[in-house]
Symmetry: none
DNA sequence: GTGGTCTAGACCACG
DNA sequence: GTGGTCTAGACCACC
């Protein structure tokens, strides 16, 4: 599996899993319909507790990104619904604002930030539904 | 004091204080050399625990943004050191990456993100040392 | 067969079968004395595990809705026994109560609920033994 | 606490807690702003594991019915947002349909169902925002 | 085999 | 004191 856990990070392990699986999906490494490793498999390969993986999977299911079929395992959802609630958009904006403030302090210029964003969007692949770097 | 605490927010109160003080500084509402309210003062005016304010001040001091002069109080540092450690830069990049991924899922376009960034930079005032929107 | 399995649903497959067979019976698509497909037949036509079909049939048999005649197959029971145990009635009431509570939260009005009930009863056909919409 | 756990029930304990707390809220036994018992308190009074209570609280928070203030405890949300997603409405309708089918089998008439609904709505108190028995 | 639930007990951050 | 995270290990339903 292409997931890497940073034990020293302050972000919970289950959240790291959620984020990295989302990233893999946007990068098309994982495709709709694909089967995810079972809870136990992933847990043992990451050397963590199955409950932790389970929590990550449940969160992804809550976000309709994956779905579980009883007794068969967990799969990437076929229909993608790129729709954010007001609440979630507010969270993004809030996080972005704090990030801009921090960047100011660290001497990261506006243009550098934009370059980084474009870089990440390129990593995710140009075909991603909503985001595309300018020059595309 | 121009600080507002959101009790419901998931970000710790001490972190909200740190962020807002930084913001006030970038907006030049607070200037180098200015005296900050004492821990007890700020705590009682915000109706929060003094320990919480103390923790915020400690963090700001760790970042060399404020300094305590024993017996005199807490002051904004005179010398500005807009230089981020590798560690901090890595944190910013990591946060930005996650933000880009989430934005992709919520259907927030690259250009929207850039607009938001420029908006926040304008709020902070165009003269800020490192960042400047657009015309740069 | 007129049965449709929703793999994504959280209700177990065997339960989906039970419910839909009951529905077909109430709709008079299936009549007392009719022969049901064998466990293997139904399983292969629904692309599911025979054990799952078997469990559904066992449940229906427990409820005296179908009966197996050894060597001959499975049939809809001739004698209808529209009499619920206290236990079953309690379950219904409990389920209905939770449904009413959830409806309250979702803003579904009392009248809407009643309309939905009448709608389903109409689907089942007005001649059903115990229930009849409106004119009753 | 006015919560009762049915150990023999098939519905998970955390879900029973969610349902009963919702009911208490609709009955105005719990009011917006009220403090809920702490996770540990409720757990020990119900003789269950704190994790189980925690799961219930997290689910209620996800539904914006309660909110936790760090270090202070868990509280009923002030602003009520009676808004259901399409998905949730579909779930209700599906549950209602199955309930109607079961009722048909158990000989529960349409009018009995409606009477039960009105009874539950009365229990919840006539002032409830969306539902009201006819005669009101 | 799969995931879901629950327990017991630990550690941590926050206030 | 509060809730959040994680582990270890158990049991269960479903397929």
């Amino acid at each position: 599996m292409l997931i890497h856990i940073d034990e020293r990070s302050t972000t919970p392990i289950w959240e790291q899993i959620v984020q990295q699986l989302k990233e893999l999906l946007l990068k098309k490494v994982l495709q709709p319909g694909d089967k995810l490793p079972s809870v136990r498999e992933l847990a043992s390969s990451l050397l963590i507790n199955p409950n932790t993986v389970s929590k990550a999977y449940q969160e992804l299911e809550r976000q309709r990104i994956i779905e579980t079929r009883r007794g068969k395992g967990t799969f990437i959802t076929e229909t993608v619904v790129p729709q954010g609630s007001e609440q979630q958009l507010g969270d993004i904006r809030q996080a972005l604002k704090m990030l801009v403030i921090e960047s100011s302090y660290l001497g990261v210029s506006r243009d550098t930030l934009v370059q980084w964003i474009d870089g990440y969007l390129n990593e995710l692949g140009g075909e991603s539904h909503a985001n595309r770097p300018q020059s595309d």
